[in-house]
Symmetry: C2
Subunit: 204 residues, 2 copies
């Protein structure tokens, strides 16, 4: 098993396909045979590259999580002014989730069935550092009287909630609120509105 061009291509194909299947059915619901079929290869080759279902899943999950957390850390850590930072984060979530709409459900669900998974990943990627910085930034904005009194953690939780839930709850939201409308279009234009909603709420 050397790293030939074809070999790498196949491994990427497997990973991409596994991502789709795992995202839709979860770890327990996904079938190795199904992944193989969807990738247009056979089960033996699956095990040739990824020894077991769990190893395959771990890799898929880690990549998925990093896709969300990595750039978020960057935004949290940078030096832009608070309102601009909020806009950046909302935009970031929206961009990532438009491309990988399955991420929220996938992560939420697998973290729920095995909460230790998140512990292994959350401390990497510099998320914690960026978070501390942003928390302090919010606190200072409150003290300086730039924004209303609000618990910084609460504000961050609100930002995340407003950014992620509409993707996680897509089937329900589109059925309940946006029937006969292109929900993806709604999501696409949502980032700015969410930012406005948040800033409107905290500004003085």
């Amino acid at each position: 098993m050397k790293e030939n061009k074809k070999s790498v291509e196949t491994q990427e194909l497997i990973l991409k396909t596994a991502k789709d299947i795992f995202a839709q059915k979860g770890y327990a619901g996904a079938r190795m045979q199904e992944i193989a079929d969807a990738a247009g290869i056979n089960k033996a080759l699956l095990h040739y590259y990824y020894r077991s279902k769990e190893k395959l899943f771990d890799q898929v999950f880690e990549e998925a999580f990093k896709k969300l957390a990595g750039p978020l850390a960057t935004f949290l850590a940078d030096d832009s002014e608070l309102f601009q930072k909020i806009r950046n984060i909302c935009k970031h979530y929206n961009n990532v989730l438009m491309e990988y709409p399955f991420l929220p459900n996938f992560i939420l669900n697998e973290v729920n069935t095995d909460p230790t998974r998140i512990l292994k990943l959350i401390n990497v990627e510099g998320v914690m550092l960026g978070k501390e910085k942003t928390l302090a930034q919010i606190s200072k904005a409150v003290e300086d009287g730039v924004i209303r009194e609000i618990d910084p953690r609460e504000l961050i939780l609100n930002i995340i909630s407003l950014s992620i839930f509409p993707f996680a709850g897509k089937p329900i939201a589109s059925e309940l609120l946006y029937k006969n409308v292109d929900y993806n279009k709604i999501l696409n234009t949502r980032a700015d509105k969410v930012s406005d909603f948040i800033i409107q709420s905290i500004k003085k």
Copy 2:
């Protein structure tokens, strides 16, 4: 199989136990044997009352969904003034989810793997009627200049996002933002703060 006292008790015990297991592991991840063990009965008795895994799951899911949707419909449909209604809904979600914190993940996940499930349930319970009424109420508030310009559907989606996500994302939020703090306590006092956050954002 008559409806004796003991019989009913057992069926309720099964349902309650199945709820826990399904909530934690999802449909695919749950095992009938596990449910039987957790309920302190044997597998044969499980099938004696609920013929199949799917029938058992359907009942569990329906009850879970109704627990969320039923009272929501009531709040949506009533005649209180908009701001009060927002507070009622936030409070409602918080109350239900404090008691059944697994509901969001459970519903989100199962709806994701089988989106037709929601279609069968969302039209019952008068949710749609209440929703229409509240949408109209919001539109009117905008027209009357009571609140800022906002798409009514967007506002409702924001309310739901802020109310539900903190429960669905509990493992992540508590690890990321509220480490070494009792997250349940945070959730418990959140409803009012969420209402304030929303109202602050839309009021003129």
